[in-house]
């Protein structure tokens, strides 16, 4: 179910209930659908703890943040998983944009290192 392209990868580690994103997300609109399906699948497993690891995600465009927002809403809808988002200070956009995800899900835990 993993997505591997030349300039980006999305991997779902079901055992660790973790989705890892890396590379540069520069897709447009519907091109994000496979990624949204993968994220939705992870949310639907309703594991007690669910981690979204974007520490190696260098670039994320507007459609990309929209896709992550939809994933957060899906987790909130189920209301059973503690969502943890892991980011990195190496990429300045992460500090500014990831904390906004907490507006959709105040219980979201943000670990930016």
């Amino acid at each position: 179910m993993d997505i591997t392209r030349e300039d980006y990868q999305v991997q779902y580690d079901e055992a660790a209930a973790t989705v890892r994103c890396s590379g540069s997300f520069r897709l447009h609109g519907d091109e994000y659908k496979p990624m949204l399906d993968l994220l939705g699948h992870a949310a639907d497993t309703k594991s007690a703890m669910l981690t979204l690891d974007v520490r190696e995600l260098q670039f994320l465009n507007s459609s990309g943040i929209n896709t992550l927002s939809k994933f957060v809403l899906q987790v909130r809808k189920h209301g059973v998983s503690q969502l943890v988002v892991q980011g990195s200070t190496r990429y300045p956009w992460q500090e500014k944009s990831l904390k906004n995800l907490q507006r959709l899900l105040p219980a979201l835990r943000l670990d930016i290192v």
Partner: protein, 507 residues
């Protein structure tokens, strides 16, 4: 009114009937009350559902509003980040460009396309114009041209081609002196504005040398024409120190006359001459080698005559102090005992007094060229190799007129390429029948094939050999020719090609 009331005959009902009607009404009332309660419940349910839906919609609306805000904020963040990165990259790129231009050993300037104002000049440009780089900034390029009108055709060509290479044009230094430059131009964006990047190369010395050479060649041509009309006429034109410049009357006969020349010294010309002569002797030919480098003779060192006082020399002959028969020294033994051919050396004088006399007084030019012919005849030579003094001096020009083949030896560097270009050009003007090249001292790592192709293309001449750099060859100091001692050495193999080409030329 009662049922017995005669005034209401239609309403006469029995008691039972009335009770039944009453029961019916009661049930209907119960039903209506139930319906009313149901409706009330339904209303309440609908209202509750409406509230729920409304809440959901409100929540979704809030989510969407939040997502929109988030997306917008994220877009702003990324935009800022990209802008900062682009600005930093631009600054870095501009800084790197300046560093490169400062380190470039050629004068470089950048001028605005719109008005030709110089916005950047490196230190070398300042030096070229006899000022500081800073003082050139703000000036208009058109003011730097020797003739302002010379800029226009250049700019038109630049516009048409988007770039211009090796355009020769005149500039004026700030002290008024003329400076010839070879200029190459490119269009580029500098600080957000269209601009022209110019790289200049000072060719003033080359232009002056070309002009002098042209005059010299013209003078020589005129003299040759004059003396050809009357070869018995010995005269002095005042433009040359030769007294009788009749070089064109040499009959070549069966001997191959070969001049080995170079624009600069120290590129192995004499070593190549001596070794090719040795190879020809080994191949069975009777070969003569003339040390015509009167100013700095050295061929005797390469042919086993170091420290041995020559009997008579070319200088003595030119001064009229001996005959041609007294000149040749048989050095065949130096090549080897079993050599089937013969090798003769015609040495130049090492006596300072004699050298000075020849150089200061000059000599009968016809005597030099005639000596070649007489030597060939008296020694029965198959080939006569003439090792000339480097550069385009009068002996070299004279020798060129007297030979059938001119071998130009050069190193693969800019200065030699430029000088060789001039030499080849002059040789063609003097109508030398065959001009060929030997590229010597090609640095290790360089492609011999590429050097050969470049030389052939640059000079439009055959390249007889491309010889790799060899300290062993250049520093060889044994009492036997290098090609004999090391026949399988790459240098020897290359020189064998030259000897082979010389033999083929003769056939």
């Amino acid at each position: 009114m009662t049922s017995s009331d005669p005034a209401a005959p239609g309403y006469e009902r029995s008691r039972e009937e009335l009770l039944a009607a009453s029961e019916t009404l009661r049930r209907r009332i119960v039903e209506l009350e139930q319906e009313k309660r149901d409706l009330e419940v339904m209303l309440e349910t609908s209202a509750a559902h409406g509230d729920h839906v409304s809440e959901m919609l409100e929540s979704e609306r809030n989510d969407l509003a939040m997502m929109l805000e988030m997306t917008t904020e994220h877009a702003d963040t990324v935009e800022d980040e990209l802008h900062e990165r682009a600005t930093a990259a631009l600054l870095r790129s501009a800084r790197e460009l300046r560093m490169i231009l400062e380190a470039t050993p050629a004068p470089v300037m950048i001028a605005r396309w719109a008005d030709g104002e110089i916005v950047y000049a490196n230190v070398m440009l300042g030096t070229l114009f006899g000022t500081s780089a800073q003082s050139l900034i703000g000036r208009k390029t058109v003011d730097l041209y020797y003739e302002a009108a010379e800029r226009e055709p250049m700019i038109r060509a630049l516009e048409a081609e988007r770039g211009l290479d090796h355009y020769e044009v005149r500039f004026r230094r700030l002290d008024g002196l003329l400076v010839w430059v070879d200029i190459s131009l490119r269009l580029l964006d500098f600080n957000g504005q269209p601009a022209i990047l110019s790289a200049l190369y000072d060719i003033t010395d080359r232009k002056a040398a070309e002009e002098r050479l042209q005059q010299q060649v013209e003078a020589l041509r005129l003299e040759l024409e004059e003396t050809s009309k009357d070869s018995a006429l010995a005269r002095s034109t005042g433009k040359t120190r030769f007294e009788n410049l009749d070089a064109s009357v040499i009959p070549h006969g069966t001997t191959e006359f070969i001049a080995v020349h170079s624009f600069r010294g120290g590129n192995g010309k004499s070593s190549i001459t001596a070794n090719v002569a040795a190879l020809l002797a080994v191949a069975g030919q009777r070969v003569g080698v003339v040390d015509a480098d009167i100013q700095s003779p050295g061929l005797h060192l390469l042919l086993g005559r170091a420290g041995k006082t020559p009997g008579h020399t070319l200088d003595d002959y030119l001064l009229g102090n001996c005959t041609v028969d007294q000149l040749a020294v048989d050095v065949t033994a130096h090549v080897g005992e079993s050599v089937s051919g013969r090798l003769f050396l015609i040495p130049a004088s090492l006596n300072p007094g004699t050298m000075a006399q020849v150089l200061s007084q000059g000599y009968d030019a016809q005597r030099l060229t005639r000596s070649f012919h007489e030597l060939a005849e008296s020694l029965g030579l198959d080939a006569l190799l003439i090792d000339t003094h480097p550069g385009l001096n009068e002996e070299a020009l004279l020798t060129m007129r007297a030979v059938g083949t001119l071998i130009v030896v050069l190193r693969p560097d800019t200065q030699d390429f430029e000088g060789t270009g001039v030499t080849v050009q002059v040789a063609r003007q003097l109508e030398v029948p065959r001009v060929v090249l030997i590229v010597n001292q090609v640095p290790s790592g360089g492609s011999l094939q590429a050097v050969r192709a470049r030389a052939r293309k640059t000079f439009d001449s055959d390249v007889l050999a491309v010889i790799p750099q060899s300290a062993e060859f250049m520093g060889f100091d044994e009492d036997v020719p290098f090609v004999v001692r090391h026949p399988q050495h790459p240098v020897s193999l290359a020189l064998q090609q030259v000897a082979l080409a010389m033999q083929r030329a003769k056939v």
